[in-house]
Amino acid sequence: MAAAAAGSGITREEEGPGGEAAAPQPQAPTNTSGTRLSRLPLARVKALVKADPDVTLAGQEAIFILARAAELFVETIAKDAYCCAQQGKRKTLQRRDLDNAIEAVDEFAFLEVICKVIILQQSDSLLAYINLLGILD
């Protein structure tokens, strides 16, 4: 019952106006067995996917998995960064903890090139990120 209500929440979110959901989702959508389905609004993820000029169409399932993967990524990088902060006996994660985590973890190598450059420049343009993705190929 909760799943159905939460599920329709996801669909509505996807079709929301421009996906500019500033208000956080009231409840994390879960299915009956408690597996969290997705907290990130699918509309925003869809916008990111469509920003890639090579992508023609993306199925709903693909968008959903990307959203869930992005969540897992956030959890992972936060935890890895926390290990660095712990060593410094701090209770607040700082930017430098993130930098250390990115350097230390192999899977985050793709971030080294892009994030350090973009984030240092405080650039807001994600289109610049997309251009930089050419470096990865």
């Binding site: 159905a4 599920g7 669909t11 996807e14 996906g19 500019e20 500033a22 208000a23 956080p24 067995s33 597996t35 389905l37 907290r39 990130l40 609004p41 925003r44 993820v45 916008a47 990111l48 469509k50 920003a51 890639d52 090579d54 992508v55 169409l57 993306a58 199925g59 709903q60 399932e61 693909a62 968008i63 959903f64 998995i65 990307l66 869930r68 993967a69 992005a70 897992l72 990524f73 956030v74 959890e75 990088i77 936060a78 935890k79 607040t92 994660l93 700082q94 930017r95 903890d97 993130l98 899977e107 793709f110 971030l111 994030c115 973009i118 984030i119 807001d124 994600l126 990120y129 993705l133």
Partner: protein, 147 residues
């Protein structure tokens, strides 16, 4: 299709909540670190999309599907994500199936009530639902989308 940069960022509130739940109680995160993680997540999606698209093109498909994304995870060396993603996908599919059956049941109930007017109304609803479901698009003809 020109996207405003703000629209390509993931909502701060959600990112913050995900981070806080991943960390032990009492641990905080600076604004800069949170913002950096948010951008990193957007970059992650873009990178994963690009990878997944390569797999779709290899398979001569125009539509990105779930297995393309899973293949991309492997390519990007995020194998540890694959099992939880597969579980989430199963749950998502079950839920979508449940929703579909629920709305079909609703339609049946509507038809039972009145024959003429209600049928016209529900047909309009059907058209809206079909536009929402990309899955339906996949099963039907593939269309080109102008980006």
């Amino acid at each position: 299709m020109a996207e405003r940069p703000e629209d390509l960022n993931l909502p701060n509130a959600v990112i913050t909540r995900i981070i806080k739940e991943a960390l032990p109680d009492g641990v905080n995160i600076s604004k800069e670190a949170r913002s950096a993680i948010s951008r990193a997540a957007s970059v992650f999606v873009l990178y994963a999309t690009s990878c997944a698209n390569n797999f779709a093109m290899k398979g001569k498909r125009k539509t990105l599907n779930a297995s393309d994304v899973l293949s991309a995870m492997e390519e990007m060396e995020f194998q540890r994500f694959i099992t939880p993603l597969k579980e989430a996908l199963e749950a998502y599919r079950r839920e979508q199936k449940g929703k579909k059956e629920a709305s079909e049941q609703k339609k049946k109930d509507k038809d039972k009530k009145t024959d003429s007017e209600e049928q016209d109304k529900s047909r309009d609803d059907d058209n809206d639902e079909d536009e929402e479901r990309l899955e339906e698009e996949e099963q039907n003809e593939e269309e080109e989308v102008d980006n």
